[in-house]
């Protein structure tokens, strides 16, 4: 069986999720080919590689289609990323292939596949049976990246013309702010459960007594309660310090992707909130009730 992996290449660099996909594909298939669009160094991808000139563009579905027609793989793997999903959904629709998205696991089942997806903000799991050939859009962090790293078995360069309609004009770098949450050791993070912009102050105060900084989930940033630079998750930053204190955050996949802190403590009124699954410690409580008490207790302990 052959599997084609669509590499996530951003700013001419192969992203970690590519190796995760290649590792899984190597487990399932005899032959794995990774397709990389862009000038990235592809030598550490542990599979055969086809490299095509170009940029990160939704139009790359055309490139995938051409390579697919040549290789006739049983499955095509994409990363569930902002670039990958654009290409995957269009490729699957154009070829009328079965597709599973938000995937956390894939296995071979007879002539077809079984995929597990996590949906409904992390509250429901779904098993899907797909006919071969099929398309899988896999969540970041589902498989270990180590298995996909090594040295490329072969690298073939191809020229593929893509159609008009979308032109890449350039990258816009993230804004820089004085506070960089990705470098902070202690991060107090607020989600929609904080209720109101005025309550952000509570988090600021808690962060201050802990010597940390404040970040937030997408809805909080979308509402304008915190600047974009403070967003944690797929579209925002990754935090990797000692503590991530999540206040009123449900724990959607897109958010959790950005949480690599050593210790996660979560406060949520919903005892079934998915955030508790990635937490070292979880408290079922109303943040507005708990946080003022917590600030007081911390101050006592510190003798302030």
């Amino acid at each position: 069986m052959n599997i084609l992996v669509f590499a996530e290449v951003i700013e001419n660099e192969v992203q970690e999720i590519t190796y995760e996909l290649v590792g899984k594909a190597n487990q399932l298939a005899d032959k794995v080919v990774t397709l990389a669009v862009g000038e990235a160094d592809v030598n550490s991808i542990n599979s055969d590689v086809i490299q095509v000139e170009g940029e990160s563009s939704p139009l790359n579905y055309v490139v995938v289609k051409k390579v697919f027609e040549e290789l006739k793989p049983s499955a095509v793997f994409f990363g569930n990323t902002l670039a990958g999903i654009d290409v995957a959904a269009q490729f699957a629709a154009d070829m009328a292939l079965p597709i599973a998205t938000m995937v956390t696991d894939v296995s071979v089942d007879g002539d077809g596949f079984v995929a597990t997806s996590v949906a409904y903000g992390g509250k429901v799991m779904v098993d899907l049976a797909l006919k071969s050939p099929a398309v899988f859009v896999v969540n970041r962090g589902s498989f270990p990246a180590e298995d996909g790293k090594g040295s490329a078995k072969s690298v073939k360069k191809l020229d593929i013309e893509i159609e008009d309609g979308i032109e890449f004009a350039g990258y816009i770098k993230p804004e820089v702010e004085d506070i960089d949450i990705s470098k902070a050791d202690i991060v107090v993070s607020v989600g929609r459960g904080i209720g109101d912009e005025a309550n952000i102050e509570l988090a600021e105060e808690l962060a201050e007594v802990l010597g940390g900084v404040v970040s937030g989930s997408r809805p909080v940033v979308d509402s304008g309660w915190l600047p974009k630079t403070r967003q944690v998750g797929r579209s925002g930053k990754t935090v990797a310090g000692k503590l991530y204190l999540a206040l009123g955050i449900s724990g959607a996949t897109e958010h959790i992707e950005g949480v690599k802190a050593k210790n996660v403590i979560a406060v949520n009124i919903d005892r079934n909130a998915p955030i508790f699954r990635v937490s070292r410690c979880g408290a079922v409580a109303d943040v507005l009730e708990l946080v003022p008490l917590l600030i007081e207790r911390i101050k006592e302990v510190k003798g302030e």
């Binding site: 700013e11 939704p58 579905y61 902002l82 670039a83 999903i85 654009d86 290409v87 269009q90 699957a92 629709a93 009328a96 079965p98 597709i99 998205t101 997806s117 996590v118 409904y120 903000g121 429901v124 779904v126 098993d127 899907l128 006919k131 309609g165 979308i166 032109e167 890449f168 004009a169 990258y171 816009i172 993230p174 804004e175 202690i186 809805p219 979308d222 630079t229 579209s235 990754t238 503590l243 449900s250 403590i265 998915p274 508790f276 699954r277 937490s279 070292r280 410690c281 979880g282 408290a283 079922v284 409580a285 109303d286 708990l290 008490l293 917590l294 207790r297 911390i298 302990v301 510190k302």
Partner: protein, 251 residues
Amino acid sequence: MKICAILRVVPDLVEDIEINEEELIPFAYIANERDEHAVEEALILKEKAGGTVDVLGVVDEDTAGDIDDALAMAYAKGADNLIKAILSRKTYRRYEVAKALAGFLKDKNYDVIIPGIQAIDAFAGTLGGMLARCMRIPYIGGAIEIEAQDGALSVKKELGGGLLGEYRVSLPAVVGVVSAERPLKFVPFARLKKAMKEAKVEEVDVEVPEVEGVKVTRYYEPPKPEITLLEGEPEEIADKLVEVLREVSVL
């Protein structure tokens, strides 16, 4: 510019969802958050470039009434026409929905069709890209800003980690929005109530084709967390959290 925003409803996660192997039974539906941003961005684009915004609500028989508030909200914010597309059957497969909607949209001459990039039940495809392929027009998702520019669009697309890409997209096109470029406009309740009375919604029945290839074999709950949750009086919880903060040497 003739703009169409797509609006769907999804189960409200604040309420419980009953899960059994064959189906999910939600207790309440709300507007899909990303679609609310799509409507907002459509209205922003209209402000900037002129034209009209139609909002196409996509529902099935079970959820047909659940979208009325969200449609009225769009109207209160400035949408020109409201359409309710009632799908002939419930399906989680976006390719089937895309095919159905493409049939309805193909002769409507929209310059831009704007769905939200994703919904919480998008485990078998996402709508925007699939719709664009069914209509044979360009697609770009992850948009956070759309500008009209010399008969085309300039779109800022998220690429992850705070990085954006800027793209020029020819018209007509489908643009999947992740967040509008400004916070959703607040609508006072009185204005919303007025809109609920005044808004006229055109209803259309849309036949959904069946396409083989994907099948849900079961729905189930994710594993329970391995930790013991702290519950009870907030004072006690605060004390225990202080202990944990010491354990991880934050205090």
